[in-house]
Symmetry: C2
Subunit: 409 residues, 2 copies
């Protein structure tokens, strides 16, 4: 049985490149950019008025002039006007081009207008104020967003500004989730006493949806022929197979054998961790497909998806597979077996900028309900038994801070 470092290393050594696809701008949100966003013009593209008011030649103000006859109006969206007389002014609107012959905008708040003449109230005023200089933020041709970044709202805005109505984004793999187990029935069924409803299919699908992946769902009965035929067709159709159940040592666990018969090489089976010990991982080189066969217990398959499958997908996109978050134990905790323990924790974000982890221990890997009370897994190393309040460990959250449960106000 291998440890989690070795398991992680093996999983991450099997990353794939699923290529690039072009999407319309509005569909690209949440995807990974696969082209650089370059300024097609200066940012801003013209010296831009940032306050409503009057535009003047500062030299006139500097020489003591305070009364500026109004020559006209420079609206946003109109071609640039020219101040004809350097002792005059033009009214200007936010977003407009700064008129030729002017360099400073005095806002309406600091101006009194009477009979076509604007009087500037303050005695001092800074040259160039309220004019956002052409090219100040970025020059034409400059890189704004590098390839390989997630497309959040800000990147979408930049893409729109530089005229990208289509974006090249990383293609996601085709993924399916296959459940096994004759005790499982559909959600809308009334289970017999020895049956339970399917849930892993939905939790794993939802965890993948957070990444933007729509996984297809399949179920296989515990029958060798059915298992072979479903696996064979899925190996052809999908890039990543995620199995739930059927990988323990039981007489009716036909999955490892069926995978072997179909040419899927086992890379490991069983990891020194709780939950998730029976985790099986393999690949079919021939069909260029990897197989994550996760234990059927709900907490096990959930944890393995967060801890192995998601990092695998991220690293396949060229991103860091390491979780950036650490959290500090808020209470002492002990775990005796020589296994890496993925402790379920509730997170608290403190006002002094710390992340605290409160153990929500639960009752084993079958305790699905407990996952709803916790928000993350805290990864406690296998070579220790006692873990103390204040110690920090890698943390794998599955609920974002603002989506954690908040009481009614």
């Amino acid at each position: 049985m291998i440890g989690i470092e070795e398991a992680t290393e093996i999983v991450l050594s099997k990353i794939r490149d699923w290529g690039v696809e072009d999407l319309p701008l509005e569909k690209a949100f949440g995807r990974l950019l696969r082209e650089p966003l370059i300024a097609d013009r200066d940012f801003p593209p013209y010296t831009r008025v940032t306050m409503d008011g009057i535009a003047i030649a500062y030299s006139a103000f500097a020489s003591g002039q305070r009364q500026f006859p109004i020559e006209g109006l420079q609206a946003a969206g109109s071609p640039q006007k020219t101040l004809q007389n350097p002792g005059h002014c033009l009214e200007v609107m936010t977003g407009a081009v700064l008129p030729k012959g002017t360099d400073t905008v005095i806002p309406y708040e600091e101006v009194r207008i009477r009979e076509g003449v604007a009087e500037v109230i303050p005695d001092e005023f800074k040259q160039g104020k309220n004019a956002h200089l052409q090219g100040l933020n970025r020059k034409r041709g400059e890189l704004i967003v590098p390839s390989g970044k997630w497309i959040s709202a800000a990147e979408l805005g930049v893409a729109a500004t530089v005229g990208k109505s289509f974006l090249a984004v990383a293609a996601w793999p085709k993924v399916c989730v296959i459940t096994t187990g004759d005790e499982l029935v559909e959600v809308d069924a009334v289970p017999l006493p020895h049956q339970i409803r399917k849930s892993n299919a939905y939790t794993i699908q939802a965890l993948l949806r957070e990444e933007g992946i729509e996984a297809d769902l399949y179920h296989m009965a515990d029958k060798p022929e059915e298992i072979s035929s479903v696996l064979n067709s899925c190996l052809d159709k999908y890039d990543v197979l995620v199995l739930s159940g059927g990988v323990s040592k039981g007489k009716l666990d036909f999955v490892p054998e069926a995978l072997a018969d179909l040419g899927v090489e086992k890379l490991f089976h069983r990891v020194r961790q709780r939950p998730g010990k029976p985790f099986w991982f393999g690949e079919s080189q021939e069909r260029n497909t990897v197989v994550f066969a996760l234990p059927g217990n709900p907490v096990s398959s959930f944890m393995c998806t967060c801890r192995y499958l998601k990092p695998y997908l991220r690293k396949s996109l060229g991103l860091s597979a390491t979780n950036p978050l650490s959290a500090c134990l808020a209470e002492d905790f002990s775990f005796a077996p020589s296994l890496t323990y993925f402790l379920q924790v509730r997170l608290e974000y403190t006002q002094d900028g710390r992340v605290l982890a409160y153990p929500v221990a639960g009752k084993g890997s079958g305790d699905l309900a407990n996952l709803c009370d916790a928000q993350a897994f805290l990864e406690l190393p296998e070579d220790r038994t006692d873990f103390f309040k204040g110690e920090c460990f890698p943390c794998w959250p599955y609920v974002s801070p603002e989506k954690a449960f908040s009481k009614k106000q």
Copy 2:
């Protein structure tokens, strides 16, 4: 001009209840639950085998017996069998019902099977091991997930388990984003020198999409009749109007007047903050609609969406409107004007469980590109000028930690 506390209080005093809708399970992911999830059966519903092996009556083992003739097999998904002879055993598969007459499962790893007889290897074994007792996690009728929680992958799994193929979730408001400004052209247009492409519509729409809201987009030219007619029809059709631009003091800023004419009461205009000073907020009691009229500068409208509109939506759902995250300045920073400053920062999650904020100052509220380099706004209070390394302030992230930029490995 009011401060941010007062602005926040006014905005949050105008929350609405948009009711409840029923969604199929697979569409409910990411929404807010509006019914409690109750255990329809015990969790687990039967005493469940958690390892493949043999089920025995522990009393036989305790009395010294080590050889157990195998009576048969209890498969997962089969009705419960009964051990006929208390000195025998039944082979059992993970997920199966524990057979009547047995109370302990000894896994295959600790058993040697020869000619139909299982020999238990260890001398000691704990009674009840590898049997997950019926009702251990939750009793039938017990509350598992309270109403008012976000539906993440874990809640979806519980909903499936208790047989909910439809879920009652909080309905979202109907929202539209209306841009103004004659300088704006479409993304696929080639702008004239005095024009720029629309971007705020896409950024605000994307920020709302993160909440699960699909906002419709409109554009109004700087013409009083067009503004009146678009606003009038949108006030009828939508619950929340988000305007971008047209609220400064300019001659062509017809929006506040048009809103007043349409019976929208101004609740405030201008807030002591940077960016976002010209923020206008109002409501039409008659049409039960609120109007967020945001300044047209890209950073201003972005910040106001994160800081006012999103908390408004959250509080309307009955959630806390307060951001749970604080971050600590990683460098000294100064800001002189008597305004609350929303400093753009890059976040770093340290191994000792802290959140550090690195200033990414940018070049004013027109600097859209800078939003891509930062990940959050740090809210610096207006009554101070100097802020020191190590001090912590409220933080409004718009990129989640795992979606922050990560270099290729």
